[in-house]
Amino acid sequence: MAVLAERGDIGAAGVAREVAARLGGERVLLLTPGMLARSRWSHRVGPDGRASTRIVLPDGRLLDSAQTGAVLHRLDRLPAVGLRRADAKDLAYARTELLALLASWLLGLGPRVLGPVSASGAARGSLSPTAALAHAARCGLPVARRGGATRVGLLDRPAPGERLVPHLDWPGGRGAPVPADLLPDPGAGPSERLLLCGERLVGALAGRYAEPSRRLGALLGSDLLELRFTRGVLAEVDACPPLAAAEQRSAVAEHLVALAEAA
């Protein structure tokens, strides 16, 4: 089993510890972007579309897709460690190529991956916070107002719990010819976090929003999401939640163990 996370990702490290306690430490690999970038890769896609991947880690251990029980994906980047002398354009190309490889590896693992799998390779993907809320509204969740206008004066004045954020410091107040965001203010009242992990919901609002949350996960292509509610409405969707609560980490660890046992 592998947990793909940045070195300072405390939530991922906690999940890895819990999985290790359940399955044994030797069965869990906590892999950072640097480790994956320094690994040797062999990724095959056959004429029938079946993918197989062998990754030899820097310490010589082998991660074979045929033997991989489950993967928690929380990465947004892989560094191009082999091209230190390359110019900025080539480095950007290399990083994009590595993410494309990561994406194909993860897709080939099928349902054994927890977290978003897309061609971008990045766990947070390209979905903006505003688009995530728009999708959530379509799934039946109550959502905060969030959006923007190309001129400040085109937006209503912010209601309680909202804030107006011009993109540039510009004179003229509401007449300023600069774009502005209308954002929910996360500090503006009581808040709740709801974690979607597989089919399970963790949090005080689980009973109320289970089905629309699952619909949102299906729409966004991820079975791991955190929904953050402020003043009773959804203000933010996080595709790579911090897993700050012990209950959340336990749910994720349990799910990974179940995936591994089913594989």
């Binding site: 890769w41 990724h43 993918a51 999708h135 959006g147 206008a149 190309t150 085109l154 993109h167 774009p179």
Partner: protein, 308 residues
């Protein structure tokens, strides 16, 4: 109301706009080079609207969009204008992903060719064979793959455009460079190229006869690509429509090759196809079909709307 979004020097966009004008379809062109002059309000809970070229259109009155978003022009002297351009582009492409309208194509649906081996797995699920592919940073493994297939090509594995090249004996001396970056190699597939454009449920196929490995760049090798209309076998046409639909694409450019034994291989699906090249060489009425698709959505008779 149909919106067109893109740059005025982009031939696929201008052909579609011209077709809409010729068909008398109500439309508004959002010119990416003029975004600083436009207004946009959008986001959940807001009264979304776009103001451009003297018109204001509520976003919920938009029934169809053909978008070819390119990098917006940069370096305007006026920082406020620069900020409005960037904000318009960001919010509008956000809206394309969530709008109730028929969007050709939604940005998220267009992501699949950001990773070619990723997309190859999806292509195979739709029933097409794909080239045997190896991504590796091991020169010995690549040499073995080469020996096994006889002829091998290499290209980028991400969505960054690259010229497809054949791996030759001369490349052997620099094959160690793959140690720095895993590189994609594919078995060479002999046969004739056929480019298929799927527009909704209609297909337009063009055969491409060319001696170059990558016909798009034939001129660089002093070669010439000859394009002609092609009649697809019905089952291949159906599979192409199903493939595009499965990827959430109402318009797709599908790169196929028919082998000498008559079997078909799919290389990739382009979600923002430059169909104008094929249309101008063959007369295939792709722009007109695209506008018919968009206008059908205008009349409420659109095919199932793309969900991402």
């Amino acid at each position: 109301m149909i919106l067109f979004y893109g740059c005025p020097d982009d031939d696929p966009l201008t052909r579609a706009v011209a077709a809409a004008r010729a068909a008398g379809v109500d439309h508004l062109l959002l010119d990416q080079t003029r975004l600083a002059r436009y207004d946009l309000v959008c986001g959940p809970g807001l009264a979304g609207r776009v103001g451009a070229e003297g018109r204001t259109v509520p976003l919920d009155a938009v029934t169809a969009v053909y978008a070819r978003p390119l990098d917006p022009p940069a370096d305007r002297a006026d920082p406020a204008a620069r900020a409005r351009t960037a904000a318009f582009h960001g919010w509008f492409t956000d809206w394309l992903d969530t709008a109730d309208a028929l969007v050709v194509n939604r940005p998220r649906a267009m992501e699949s060719n950001g990773s070619k081996p990723y997309q190859a797995q999806l292509i195979a699920r739709a029933g097409f064979a794909v080239p045997d592919t190896l991504v590796s940073d091991d020169p010995e493994e690549i040499r073995a793959f080469h020996r096994g297939h006889g002829r091998v090509v290499y290209k980028s594995l991400s969505g960054i455009r690259s010229i497809v090249r054949e791996l030759t004996e001369a490349d052997g001396a620099r094959l160690h460079l793959v140690r720095a970056l895993p590189t994609q190699f594919q078995a060479y597939v002999p046969g004739r190229d056929v480019r298929v454009h799927v527009v909704g449920e209609r297909v337009f196929a063009a055969a491409v006869d060319c001696a170059a490995i990558d016909y798009r760049y034939a001129g660089r090798d002093g070669l010439h690509a000859e394009l002609s209309r092609y009649e697809l076998p019905p089952e291949v046409a159906e599979r192409s429509v199903a493939l595009a639909a499965g990827l959430g694409l109402s318009l797709a450019g599908i790169d196929l090759r028919v082998r000498p034994d008559g079997t078909w291989v799919c290389f990739e699906v382009n979600p923002m196809p430059a169909y104008s090249y094929y249309e101008s060489h063959t007369g295939l009425p792709i722009a007109a079909a695209l506008v018919e698709l968009l206008a059908a959505a205008d009349l409420g008779a659109a095919p199932a709307r793309v969900e991402v």
